[in-house]
Amino acid sequence: MPQITRQGLIKKELPSFKEMQLYAEQVSEGWKIGRSPFMDAHGIKSEREYKEQCKKTGKIMRHAHIGYNSAEETIAAIQYIYRELQARNASLDRFGICLDVQMGVPEEQRQNIPRGAGLVFQSEEEWIRVAQAAPVMVHFGDNMIGTLNSIENLRLAFAAGGTTIGNVSHYYTYEYPFPYDLNLRTERMVEAFCIMGLYKDRGMLVHSNLDDGFGALFHDLADTLGWAKLEKHIVEDLIGAKLGHCFGNLYSDPVLRIAFSFALDDINGHDSCGTMIYGNTTDFDTDFRKNYSVTNGYLLGDMIGQIHRPTGHALNAVPVSEAARIPSRDEILEAQIMSNELERYARMYEPYMDWEKIESCEKKLLEGAEVFYHNTLQELDRIGIDLENPAEIMLALKRLGPDYLERYCGAGKVREEERIPVWPTDMVKKITKIKENALRHISQGELTGTRLVICSTDVHEFGKNIVGSVLKKAGASVHDIGTDASPAEIAETAIETDSQYIVVSTFNGVAKTFARNLLDTLGKYQLDVPVFMGGLLNENREDGNLPVDVTEELKQMGIICTKKAEEIVEIMKERNKTARDRKTT
């Protein structure tokens, strides 16, 4: 076990929690609290109040995510979707807007960070206009609290009439491409949560999407649930705000989704006020026809769960195009119509579910979660972290990281130095299955003597690891330079290792730009090496905000585009053979 010290985690002392509370009181004095048309329409003062009503009446709440990069387009989409649903007598209760990463940075520092595909508000007025575009409640989840701009964003969200505001998870996993003061970021985030606590009676609800933070990086769902309990302890017990969790992106099994939402409710002492259950996007691919069944499949389960035991979560019908690009407003509308139609079938199924089985799954998750929760607090205590200071706890957890926490505090039993998950996440199951399938088709030694560089352009390494395993099994010398690779790093590695191929996995919507830069760089290094690319081969068009598939353009550039590891082996075998034949002639 590594020798972690308090000094190693808390390099500079943080202010006391009392000081942060005082600052929160002072800075938020006189803040304006806006009122949205949704509140007026339902005679409520917050979404939380509405959620409590829904829990009592058994109403299913619905959520839509809207990800355009201009306020005007966002407003138009909200109004259009609302209008169309009204005309069909269908409902949508809330919408989440995807603020750009730039919004998480104070205005004076925004030149340090490239603008992404999300929305950047240009004025306070735009916040209000978007939030109040239609009688649908706004949800501020992305790039808000937990960033470098926690307090200012919170002030603007309050003024716009937002009452569910996140995101605890972002603090742990979102980073910035320039140096900044992590202590100050932590301090301001905790102060923002304190302000949410000060306004708890007005219905303010802190949002945390488990799939945005360490929750998605654990291999064991029991640890993720334990992490949720830890977040609740920090936000509710220590800070005094109300926390609502979101999950679902990475959960494929509909029954497990139900069990997890029940287990979350247990953790909350049956007083859950979840924000939303996100759609299962791990089963999505670029075949939209297939994605219809994915959306309906998970949504049916989520509805049955909410009918049986409401937890306040709104349900998110994900448009079928989400894995390929930012969905159009008609695609969002289509998903919401499906969701509304599906409800009556869900109500028919609900009485016939085997709840005992689901509850035993819930129990197993809960037991594991307790272990993780207690082990983590114990470990923090052992290190000497002040367990009364939420900022110190969060900073320590961020620096320890998910690998450490899972390895040394995880719920699963240790076997041969590895922790066996109590309940492996879908991602782990899926990766294992894909890998096993791919390996089954490969004969050992097919690529003996072949040298290659493999990498990914972003933080995702599952795809890279699968392909790497397959190529290794085939006998190739695989030089893995990991994630976030740069073209120069790839070229230099290819030179040193005399690699014959470069294999790039990409998921961050930069496929075309990266390919162009890589080919330019290879040219500068006088390297003529075939490049394979796989993953999500898309990119934003300069004139629009919908990422589009760029496979054909990549092919024209000479990139070999492929989705399957087995296919890469076949192509390499063929090319090796051609090269050998050319040599002999």
């Binding site: 040298r451 972003d458 933080v459 976030d484 740069s486 030179i495 040193e496 961050n508 990266f514 006088q526």
Partner: protein, 464 residues
């Protein structure tokens, strides 16, 4: 009781330390003006006479003698690798860690222009490296053919690249009448730096061929071989200080050492390259790393130091007097033996020493940089020194300053320099008796005694 007498044959002074390693005591240290350019044995004898006064002639005769040399710029090397971030970085760390001064470095494919530069540089040794084992061959062979075929080097070549073509490379050089020594690949795999074997070969060549001294044969009769360049001895001492001798001492932990001279500033760091929570790019960094800044010095390099750190030097006391300060620096460059004779000149020497440490520390350390791509991703480029706890100064320009602590503290990272992987806080010490080279030389003989002698030489640096 036997003594160990250590010598450092430098260009300015020939230094001596008489050590009682068993009792971890230093009997005497001395320095006499160097005679290495005329007859090194004169400086040696003058020192030995001083030693005899303290420990007696018989003890001097029976003492074990060890010597290092930094004369004539020490060991001048050219390094040729295949890529900047991998084999060249590995080659630079190997050469600098062996105590060499890298006068030129190249990566990629050598062309006629580069060959001409190498010929003009006239190095003592050329280190040719690149390619992991089973890796690149054709670019290496191209560079070999260029160097050997055109006979542009007259110095020995050390080949420390892909082992697959090692024999062919050696044959090619030998056929061209160029000495070539083979050693293990310094960069056999992507995540491996194997500097040790190549450094042994460098020392061996240095010991037998390069000392930059006249009267070497006579010197050998007294002290045996010059076992290593002085910076290599300092690297050993630093490693010993940081890690301890392996007996009861655990060492002082991660540290940095600054040796500011008239012509160069040497920076040493002794620390594991701990990950900073982000991806580290390039060949692995060594525990004991050295860099040499040939343009940062207080005398012959004073003008280039001024040009490099103009803004820093002209802050505070010297603000508004740019021309005057520049002239003062030029005078230092012209007169290597210049001694300050008034308060203003003394103040400038202090400022120049601070500038040398400030600039060299920032060149030595790693940095946090923005990775390629749209996502907000940081990478670590170079060595992470944020966990360094101790800064040590050695060499006259730091030790004899009135405010050595102020000089050393220039290495610390300022709050706004968040991209630098330097420490924010550290304790400052000076090698008060100039004993680190001696501790390094005698580390093999008696590590416990050498460690204690090095520790005893450290005195907390005053701030005036």
């Amino acid at each position: 009781m036997g003594y160990t007498i250590c010598f450092d044959f430098g260009s300015t002074y020939t230094k001596m330390a008489v050590l009682d390693l068993e009792n971890a005591e230093t009997a005497v240290t001395s320095r006499v003006p160097s005679t290495v350019k005329t007859d090194a044995v004169q400086g040696l004898k003058a020192n030995l006479e001083i030693a005899a006064k303290y420990i007696g002639e018989e003890a001097v005769r029976s003492a074990h003698m060890l010597a290092s040399s930094s004369a004539a710029g020490g060991l001048r090397m050219v390094v040729v690798g295949l890529t900047e971030k991998y084999s060249l970085l590995a080659g630079m760390n190997t050469a600098l860690g062996a105590g060499a001064r890298v006068i030129r470095s190249y990566y990629g494919i050598l062309d006629d222009k580069k060959l001409e530069e190498i010929r003009e540089a006239n190095p003592s040794i050329l280190l040719l490296c690149g390619g992991t084992d089973e890796g690149n061959v054709d670019r290496l062979w191209h560079n070999t053919e260029m160097l050997a075929g055109k006979r542009m080097v007259s110095c020995p070549v050390i080949y420390a690249g892909n082992k697959k073509i090692a024999q062919e490379v050696r044959t090619k050089f030998l056929q061209s009448g160029i000495e070539c020594y083979l050693t293990d690949n310094i960069f056999p795999e992507l995540d491996c730096l194997n500097a040790g074997p190549a450094q042994k070969v460098i020392h061996n060549i240095f010991m037998n061929r390069i000392t930059g001294m006249r009267g070497m044969n006579e010197v050998r009769k007294y002290v045996g071989d010059i076992v290593m360049p002085t910076p290599a001895a300092v690297l050993r001492a630093g490693t010993l200080l940081a890690k301890g001798s392996g007996n009861d001492e655990t060492g002082i932990g991660s540290c940095m050492l600054f040796d500011v001279g008239g012509a160069t500033t040497d920076v040493y760091s002794f620390s594991d390259n701990l990950p900073k929570g982000m991806k580290a790019v390039g060949a692995p960094e060594p525990f004991a790393k050295r860099s040499v800044e040939g343009d940062l010095g207080l005398r012959s390099s004073a003008k280039s130091l001024f040009e490099n750190a103009r803004g820093f030097i002209l802050k505070g006391h010297f603000s508004g007097s740019e021309n005057k300060v520049e002239e003062m620096c030029v005078r230092r460059t012209r007169q290597e033996a210049f001694l300050p004779d008034n308060e203003e000149e003394t103040a400038l020497d202090q400022k120049l020493a601070e500038a040398a440490v400030y600039t060299s520390a920032r060149r030595h350390c790693g940095r946090v940089e923005n990775a390629y791509g749209k996502d907000s991703v940081l990478i670590q480029n170079g060595k992470n020194l944020t966990n360094v706890k101790t800064l040590i100064g050695t060499g006259g320009p730091i030790i004899f300053r009135k405010q050595p602590e102020k000089v050393l503290r220039m290495a610390l990272r300022k709050p706004e320099e968040k991209e630098l992987l330097l420490p924010e806080h550290a304790d400052c010490f000076v090698d008060s008796r100039y004993l680190l080279f001696a501790a390094g030389l005698s580390a093999e003989e008696n590590p416990g005694g050498a460690y204690q002698i090095a520790v005893n030489s450290l005195k907390r640096a005053g701030d005036g």
